[in-house]
Symmetry: C2
Subunit: 440 residues, 2 copies
């Protein structure tokens, strides 16, 4: 019997619903592990979505809560409707589309990302995850696959504005947060209302621990590691924590012509030594931690004046908060030596808005990696250096993240690009991981 | 005979005109080397002059060509008239007061400085040299001393705007220079006209080589060397040359979270290494050279972006132009190594507006030092790190400069301060040097 043959040639764990449905319908359908996304459809929709939210100069400007964002969301909801997802908008403005599972007592498997972008941003950040999530549903529909778990496609609102939608979903959006001005120019609460949310009653759509069986997010890497190592899939181990810190160096402003070198208290010399020290400390220990001085201001800022005051913006990221704190302590120690050497004072003021690391679920990591392997794709376990909605959802559900290569490691730029083949690979890993999770 | 006694008790070289005039008038007058300025008068006039050119917040704003500058100049000319100096204004706007000498065939000994100031400047920069010059004349008048050489008191116009008055006097003010906007907001030519000059005919009052016997300038040090070494008089060996250079470091802007340390092309890290290298190179060789990075800009300038481009403002000063060029070459060599290390490119673009060093006259240096010694004052041969009118005049006449201590080395600031005792010392050295030069 044909069906038997099928069962024999596939491992029991991959015995698919599709195969079973084939048996009943009599139409030959591929096995679940043979299901593949339609990469062309994903790519075409990437470009369709990219048309929404262009500024007068043609630059991408689908910033959360703007007209372009609203148009992109409307377009996406239409696609969801056509896919039978019956989309709705929760209190935080997130779009949620649902697909029933065979077993209504099981918690949903959710997946998705965001479609808002930074000003002058690219076409792949977030959108790939959303369009691939929709693609998964459509492939399941087309192949008449019914999962055990209900499925949810989530398009989080205003990710680039500070993970606002995902934050609201897990109770992390404070009344103060709602009062902040968003990149759109609107106060956050107004922005949420404008896209159909209900900021007065965020608790109405809170997801609690255990409400979701799992959350999966496919995303472009936004860095150059996969490309650099010629790999196809990144299995994300976690999203790094971020500590931002203002470093203030006070020396003494003096005439650059009349002040001998040995009488100077040059704040920029001290700052420069510190920038070099930050790099030495961060690169001097094992691991994937990064440390960046991205901002500098030297006052008064003239050729002929020894700088009296310098302000630096220091950022440290790692999967371990303890390591971040250890690195900061080491930098502060070196700063004390530099301050003495240069006759300056150096003070560190951490910004209030730090982000703690969010780890992904080890079982989901394994499932993603197995899915990649089963598809014949090379993979690597890695951290996410950028923030993602997954890190919010990690507080209420096991999360898994799949990365695909970014050409040149470029992101948040019109030059952001991911090859169609890599997008297809990522979407196939998402599909196979969902099916695998559904079976477990 | 009383006169004989006088002659006997003084060295022949210091046989003074005052002593001789005493002989004829019958009134006992001090010997020339016994003449002393009236320090109280200088100090009182410093404060009187400081009243002119205050902005609405009471800050010093006697910027060249402004109303305050004009008022200060009118006040000063009135004092010159009272001292019999018969002041006039030359084509460049400089105020020149003349006092006849015994020998009309001798070239004048000139001395002076400027009374304009930087915005929010101090009360001593320039003004001390002008008021002491006037004081010298008044002391000579009061003691009925007639010099061999004619004397000239010069108040140079708009020194702080780029040595404009002294530049015009030696043919260094170009038609392009006249078109530049001055700190007053006026085009330079208009400014000169406004204070009574004649910018259309600058050649009318040009001074040529040999027109002046010598030029002497008393000035506050504007640095902290004399105070630091507890010395009273600085004998200036020369005014340093200045090379300003834009240094551009190009790396690659990238996401600070997703770009591993080893894949970065961090322009700020490269710039910081270069700032440290500049300091090492400049302090690593013998001499009084200074090297300063006073300006820095890092783009795009955000916590979460590796800086892709940094611009530095580098300045090197020394009495030797060859040394300045050697230091720049050394810095460029180190920059090449840093560029390779950091995967950046570093380019040096010297500003067109460099200043060549101007050396003072060695014989005048000796006379200044002897005058200080004869007055029982401690002294030191030193360079001037700041620019002065003397450096322009050095192209047509032997110049000498006298420095007195600046408290805390502070200048171009309301905190600029020189003790009354130090001002008096400086003015006495000026007086005694003029008399000594007149005898030589």
């Amino acid at each position: 019997m044909k069906r038997r043959t099928f069962i024999k040639t596939t491992a029991l764990s991959s015995l698919s619903l599709a195969a079973m449905s084939t048996a009943f319908s009599g139409v030959k359908m591929p096995l679940a592990n043979e299901l593949r996304v339609n990469g062309k459809r994903i790519e075409a929709r990437i470009f369709e979505l990219a048309k929404f939210g262009r500024d007068e100069n043609g630059r991408g400007y689908r910033v959360g809560y703007t007209q372009g964002d609203k148009e992109g969301r409307a377009w996406f909801m239409e696609l969801m409707k056509n896919a039978g997802l019956n989309p709705s908008i929760d209190a935080g403005g997130n779009i949620i589309g649902k697909r029933k599972g065979k077993n209504p007592s099981l918690k949903p498997i959710a997946f998705g990302s965001h479609i808002d972008m930074v000003p002058d941003g690219g076409n792949y950040d977030g959108t790939l995850g959303c369009l691939s999530a929709l693609e998964v549903i459509e492939i399941l529909n087309e192949n008449k696959v019914e999962t055990n778990h209900p499925l949810e496609v989530i398009v989080f609102a205003n990710e680039e504005g500070g993970l606002i939608g995902s934050r609201s979903m897990v109770g992390g959006l404070t009344p103060e947060g709602l009062e902040q001005i968003s990149q759109s120019g609107l106060v956050m609460g107004e922005g949420i209302k404008g896209i159909g949310g209900n900021p007065e009653n965020l608790s109405g759509s809170l997801r609690k621990k255990g409400d979701l069986h799992a959350f999966l997010e496919l995303h472009i890497e936004q860095g150059g590691i996969l490309e650099n190592e010629n790999l196809q899939i990144g299995v994300v181990e976690g999203i790094v924590g971020i500590l931002d810190c203002i470093v203030t160096i006070e020396g003494f402003s003096n005439h650059a012509g009349t002040t001998p070198m040995k009488l100077r208290k040059d704040a920029l010399l001290a700052a420069s030594k510190l920038v070099v020290a930050v790099n030495e400390i961060v690169t001097g220990i094992q691991g994937n931690q990064v440390g960046t001085v991205g901002k500098i201001e030297a006052l008064p800022g003239a050729y002929n004046v020894v700088p009296g005051k310098v302000t630096l913006g220091l950022e440290i990221r790692d999967l371990s908060w303890e390591k971040i704190e250890m690195i900061l302590a080491e930098i502060e120690k070196r700063a004390a030596t530099i301050a003495t050497e240069t006759k300056t004072t150096i003070t560190f003021t951490p910004e209030a808005s730090f982000t703690k690391p969010a780890l992904t679920d080890p079982a989901l990591q394994q499932k993603i990696n197995e899915a990649a392997k089963s598809l014949g794709l090379s993979s690597k376990f890695m951290q996410s250096g950028a923030g993602h909605d997954s890190q919010q959802i990690a507080s209420i559900a096991p999360v898994g993240m799949i990365f695909v290569p970014s050409v040149g490691g470029i992101s948040h730029s019109p030059k952001e690009f991911t090859k169609a083949e890599d997008m297809t690979n990522g979407a196939n890993v998402l599909l196979q991981t969902i099916l695998s999770v559904d079976q477990s």
